[in-house]
């Protein structure tokens, strides 16, 4: 059977997408992302206040 080299990149792409999807849906990651954004927001507000 002929397998196009693109077959490999399709699967690698799918694995990367699955990992990203899992990470974005994980509550821990979501929580961390949220806290990063909150920290950034509070720093910005503090700078504006000064």
């Amino acid at each position: 059977m002929y397998i196009d080299p693109a077959a490999g990149s399709l699967i690698m792409q799918a694995i990367a997408a699955a990992a990203l999807a899992a990470a974005s849906l994980s509550s821990r990651v979501r929580h961390k992302l949220k806290s990063v954004f909150q920290t950034l927001k509070s720093i910005a507000l503090r700078n504006r206040g000064q």
Partner: protein, 526 residues
């Protein structure tokens, strides 16, 4: 349920589109946008219909979620299972490949069945797959967009393309002979091997055919193609120049064919002859992806007759998708009858080329006797496909089918020539192959320093037979390489100042068309 909430259930459509977009992203310059859009459209529409049908079935629980998961499972089986089997097979070389696919298929079926029975898990799986499909689609689309933009930039910055856009130099003394403006028929027979290769590698005597050509007035020198891949060979022939610089400009391991296709379409032969009042008639092959369209053509033969054939007669991208997925394993091959029809119709139309006021330059690219072997020696459909070219087994069967297809080509050519030779004034007819065959496959870059001479000799040995009226045959030497063919012709008939360039040979193989390998020197006895 709101429309917005229902949107997440159509993720199977995204999963069905991604393989097409990914394949296109990995083969920039090797497909036409119309072919890509047609494939995306068919893939998306088929999945959407299947999804709608599955969603109206009376499943227990959330029928949209169940319908979507089952539609996704179908998409997975069709597009992802075989590539996954290939990747797993490569990662685990000890495991028998033929077991991987059924084991993964059964495991996936069990997983789907278990998820469908648990509503909470089904909801989570739906969200996960919807997010994953979105990421996949964005990834693949960005890769495609970047690839297309990069290909366009390579063309824009190409010194090779700029050099080839210069007009051909003309001799101050004018043409060697004062000639009427003759029609020029350039008939490219893809992968038609030289007499020497046919005798040595195939133990086939093609002399009777060549003798018939000689009897008609043809000259048949010993010809070698400078390149072993179609895109490079045709680009160099039609531009009358070496094009190996393409490797530096595009990258030797690049899969991007944009520049090669650009200089093939915008070639110097067509611009030179058109500037001399010629009309350009173009006969593309049904597929191939490289010479299928030419915007400069005054007449372009349509290898596909109607919209239905456009869908069923596969484009190059279509064939790649078929070859890489389960479609090629279980769906009956449909393209052969369209290939047969387009080859025979092209020859028939060429025979009936009308006389016109302006002289004609006719370029016909026949994708025969190149595989797939679709015609037998009597030009009837060859029947079910034999072993594929990429396989190591079935060599004898492949050789027999190649020879049968070659005999059909000989028959078609001999039927065509009397019609062309009856034209007035007598036309210039160039029967040319772009490269030889590829049955000897001893070279392994990991093991050998150089390509064995016999392998390179087979691949470079190409047919060349020319009808050059008005003593034109005197200007062609006994031995030549393809890059110089039109240099001789244009110098003699049109007064171009084109001394022959180097007969250097560039051997490339496999997936990297621009990666040239060193070749062993010829044995002393040669």
């Amino acid at each position: 349920m709101s429309r917005k909430r229902r949107l997440k259930y159509i993720y199977p459509v995204a999963f069905a589109v991604v393989p097409v977009v990914t394949l296109a992203a990995d083969h920039i310059g090797q497909f036409y946008m119309s072919d890509l859009l047609a494939l995306v459209g068919v893939s998306a529409a088929t999945t959407l219909v299947a999804w709608v049908v599955l969603c109206v079935l009376p499943w227990k629980g959330d029928r949209f979620a169940v319908g979507a998961l089952i539609a996704f499972f179908g998409v997975f089986l069709v597009f992802y299972l075989f590539p996954l089997g290939e990747v797993v097979g490569r990662a685990l070389p000890g495991v028998r490949q033929r077991w991987i696919v059924p084991v993964v298929a059964v495991a996936s079926l069990i997983a789907v069945w278990r998820v469908v029975r648990r509503p909470a898990v089904l909801e989570k799986a739906t969200v996960f797959l919807a997010v994953m499909s979105l990421i996949l689609l964005v990834q693949a689309s960005v890769r495609l967009g970047v690839g297309i933009a990069r290909g366009a930039r390579v063309i824009e910055r190409s010194e090779l393309a700029r050099d080839l856009a210069q007009p051909l130099p003309m001799s101050e003394s004018g043409p060697a002979v004062l000639e009427p403006q003759r029609d020029v028929f350039f008939i490219l027979l893809d992968m038609y091997a030289s007499e020497n290769v046919l005798r040595k590698v195939f133990q086939y005597d093609n002399r009777p055919f060549l003798d018939s050509l000689v009897a008609l007035g043809f000259t048949v020198p010993e010809v070698r193609s400078n390149y072993t891949r179609t895109i490079l060979s045709i680009a160099s022939i039609l531009n009358l120049e070496h094009v190996d610089r393409i490797a530096d400009e595009t990258g030797p391991r690049s899969q991007d064919r944009s520049l090669g296709r650009y200089i093939t379409e915008n070639n110097r032969t067509v611009s030179f002859l058109k500037s001399r009042g010629y009309d350009f008639h173009f006969y593309p092959p049904l597929w191939g992806g490289l010479t299928q369209k030419n915007r400069f053509a005054d007449f372009q033969f349509r290898p596909r007759r109607n919209l239905l054939e456009t869908v069923l007669a596969k484009s190059s991208l279509h064939r790649r998708l078929w070859g890489a997925t389960a479609l090629g394993q279980f769906v009956v091959v449909t393209e052969d009858k369209y290939d047969v029809d387009s080859v025979l119709r092209s020859f028939a139309r060429l025979r009936e080329t009308p006389d016109e006021d302006d002289p004609l330059f006719v370029f016909a690219h026949f994708f025969v006797p190149h595989n797939p072997y679709i015609l037998d020696e009597n030009c009837e459909p060859a029947g079910p496909r034999g072993p594929d070219e990429g396989e190591s087994s079935g060599l004898e069967q492949r050789r027999a089918r190649y020879i049968a297809q070659l005999e059909c080509v000989n028959r078609q050519v001999l039927e065509l020539l009397p019609a062309l030779l009856a034209r007035s004034p007598e036309p210039i007819i160039l029967l040319q192959s772009d490269h030889g065959t590829r049955t000897i496959r001893e070279y392994d870059p990991a093991v050998h320093e150089r390509v064995p001479y016999a392998q390179a000799e087979e691949r470079h040995g190409a047919l060349g037979a020319y009808y050059l009226p008005g003593n034109g045959d005197e200007i062609v030497p006994d031995s030549l390489t393809t890059v110089n063919l039109l240099r001789y012709v244009f110098s003699h008939y049109f007064g171009a100042d084109l001394p022959p360039v180097s007969d250097s040979l560039f051997y490339s193989d496999g997936d990297y068309e621009y990666l040239f390998f060193p070749v062993e020197p010829a044995p002393v006895s040669q």
